[in-house]
Structure formats: C-alpha cells, structure tokens
Symmetry: C2
Subunit: 152 residues, 2 copies
Amino acid sequence: MNPRTSTERPKEVAMRTDEQWYPGHLRDLDDSECRELLTENRVGRVAWCENGIPAMVPVNYRFDGEYVVFRTSAHSLLARHFRDGPKAFQIDDHDDFQQSGWSVLVQGESEVLEWDELPDPADRPQPWIGGNRNVHIRISAEHISGRRVVPA
Amino acid sequence: MNPRTSTERPKEVAMRTDEQWYPGHLRDLDDSECRELLTENRVGRVAWCENGIPAMVPVNYRFDGEYVVFRTSAHSLLARHFRDGPKAFQIDDHDDFQQSGWSVLVQGESEVLEWDELPDPADRPQPWIGGNRNVHIRISAEHISGRRVVPA
C-alpha cells in the first residue's frame, strides 16, 4: 500500500505535517535480529578512518557469529587499511515504495587471517570480482546495533 | 543469465579458478556517472569517525550537484557529529543474481545549514521517519569516486 495515496486514513492524520503524510518511526533491532540479518546476507560495506576521514566500500562477506570475514587481494587499499585497528561493517536494505528499511552496524578490530585460521571453503566469502583475492580479513563483532524504519 | 549454470562458455574458462567460474571485474565510474547516480537516488549512508572508529547509518538525501543534504532532529547523534569536520556519504546497489553492482563514495566537510540556506521545499530531502527533523546538514562533494562490478 502506498501511504501517500491511501484514502483509508482520516484526513487529520494525513495533515499532521506538511511534508510527509504518514511518517514512519524508528525502532532498535535486538541483538538476535541483527545477527540473523548478518548471517543471511552476503553483501555489505566495510568502513575505515584515515586521518579522521571516513571511507567505505561494498564487499562480499560472511558472518560466522563472531566475525565478519571478507576477502581482498594482497596489494589492495583494503589490505593496507584492514591489517589492524578499529573498523566498521554495515548492511542495510530499504523499500522505496513502503518507505521502510533496516540497517545493522558492526564495530570492532580488524585483522588478517592466517592460513590455518581460514574458514572451511564452503563458509568463505565468495567475491564477485576475479583475481587472486586470497587475503582474508575479519572484523570482530564487538559491538552490534541495528534499527528499522517501520512504515506508518 | 546465471554465470554459474551457463553451459555456453568453454570449460577451460570455467576452470580458471576453483572458487568462481566466471569472475566479474571492477571498473572505475567516471565523474559524470557518479553524479548521475547521486542525483537520481534518494537513500544513502552517512559516515563519520569518532576517536578513529568509523560509524555509518542510512539517510534520506538529495544531491544538488555540489552538496549531499540530509535532515535530522536537533538532538540526534547525527546532529552532534555532523556540525563540522570530514565526513563521507555512500550509495550503492547490487544484483545478487547477476553478481554485479556499483557504488559511489563522496568525501568532504559537513556543516549545518542556516535557515536562509535551505533548498526550496521541493528540493529538500524527505525523511521517512516522523518527528521534527528540521536540522539540514550538508556534506560538500569535494571528492567523488565510484566503481562498478561488471559481470563476466
């Protein structure tokens, strides 16, 4: 249902604000909802800070309940920035029509996996990009938070 | 076409790597492609750094060719962090089936708009969330970059 064109709501609600007839509201996701979304998705964004300037790029990832794991090539920007230190990882999705969506943010330290720490092949992230992307990096899910825009 | 199940490609290509049969490749988007994507989309992510730790959340936004503008409420986390200083803004989209996608990253200083600097009402971002979100923040598009994963 498009909230902008519905005729089912009383007009006084529709006129509550001049800019959005039926504003949604924000609610926090609990930890289990966040973990479920992290587990079932495969594409997210990794973020880092360089001299106080944030940057982020999408990656193919897997979440094993403790770490977000992604892959890159040995001489990439990501390999350089994600050796250690605090990082963030984020997933989200939204529905333009419903004007709803959700997002999950993970913050924690990054580190490069040693060969003997690699997940089983079936559990490794599968990059869509070719080339020798054999550096596996993980971000510990020390802090997880999420929220959802619930349509009105 | 699902690249994993196609039978049209020669087997020696299919066996190029053990993990992905037909890897895509990455190409940079030029400035005009990035600007077009920024102009036509309405939902992105703002990012900031706090004590070297990155964070990001989705926002409804508008891009006017020079600035990314979004709205928040006066006492929000975003209002506190986006008064000034270097920030980032990002949009992306992807197609799980095609294993393709694109992303655009904007980096620049943020500032709070004064009342006489507000865009025309029709050009303002329209938050999906209700409440008095009358603080307009802009991020200058000092640096714009983008890339696309082209399926094989």
